[in-house]
Amino acid sequence: MKEKRKTDLIIEELKKRKGKERTVDVEEEKVKVVIFTLKDGHYAFPGSDVKEILPFMDISAVPGAPDFIPGVINNRGDIESVINLNRFLGLPDSDRTAATRIAMASKAGVRSGIILDSVLDVVDVPVSSIKPPLSTLDDAKKELVSGEMTYHDGIVVMLDIGRLFGKLCAHGR
């Protein structure tokens, strides 16, 4: 058997390891999430449902709209509704700051802006890192929560935009 140089052996070993890492990467399905803050904690939306993140802008009031829809915005000529998620989750209203953002979300043919206190990160996380929600959540949140994950040692609550829009449409009728 022909002897190999030491460096060739090391390179072969490194390539094998790299190959294994790639295999792991392929097998570990990931999902993009938008992590944000709201009054009492950290939340996330699936990145696939968030089309755009806008700076906070003037909201035109619509008289007669429910209190969790404070009005509409003019997003480069497109008029979109805006949701105050705090009201829907039973949280006190947040102050508007320089960090306040409006996430433009779209799901099942419905499109709307959602006011966020701040956007912390947009990251790819392994699907396996998203655990089922705790049963101790209060009812207002439980219906909208699809799971929980950790982010920088803290808990992030994953919200389901489809369920949110579904509830809003049903509430309006």
Binding site: S60, P63, I73, E80, G172
Partner: protein, 146 residues
């Protein structure tokens, strides 16, 4: 005599004249053709016209103060109705293509049916209101100014 009125499907104009005004804390517009006249609240009082206050008709919360200074008049059959507004803004002619439907979530809200669309303007969003869709509400909640 032949009926030469255009069929409904051919009756969509390329442009619409809107009367812009402020009421119930929002910027609104009504097709000018729907408005028969504009009078002061005192004149509406004297003529005993049924006047609806938009904030109340739409079920807006108490934060919106209806203190109308003018009344838009519109006629349905023999009956004249009025809508109280805070201030008259301007009149504009808009191409149909510039109008947009009410956002999906709002179109589901009970009571917002009088709003049939929105008009984006440079610094604001104008709600398009159909006075005839408000008529039934006025019939039930009409009041005289105090």
């Amino acid at each position: 005599m032949a009926d030469d009125r255009p069929a409904l499907t051919n009756d969509i104009p390329k442009e619409i004249d809107f009367l812009l005004f402020r009421a119930a804390g929002a910027s609104m517009a009504v097709e000018a053709a729907q408005v028969e006249g504009i009078i002061s609240r005192e004149q509406a009082e004297q003529r005993a016209i049924k006047v609806g206050l938009l904030g109340r008709l739409l079920g807006a919360d108490g934060a919106i103060v209806d203190a109308p200074s003018k009344v838009l008049l519109f006629r349905d059959g023999n009956e004249t109705y009025g809508i109280g507004i805070n201030a008259l803004d301007t009149m504009v002619r808009e191409k149909i293509g510039t109008l947009q439907p009410l956002p999906e979530l709002l179109s589901h809200v009970e009571g917002l049916q009088p709003f049939w669309g929105v008009l984006p303007r440079e610094n604001e969003v104008v709600l398009l209101i159909d006075l005839f869709r408000l008529k039934s509400l006025i019939g039930n909640q009409a009041e005289q100014f105090a």
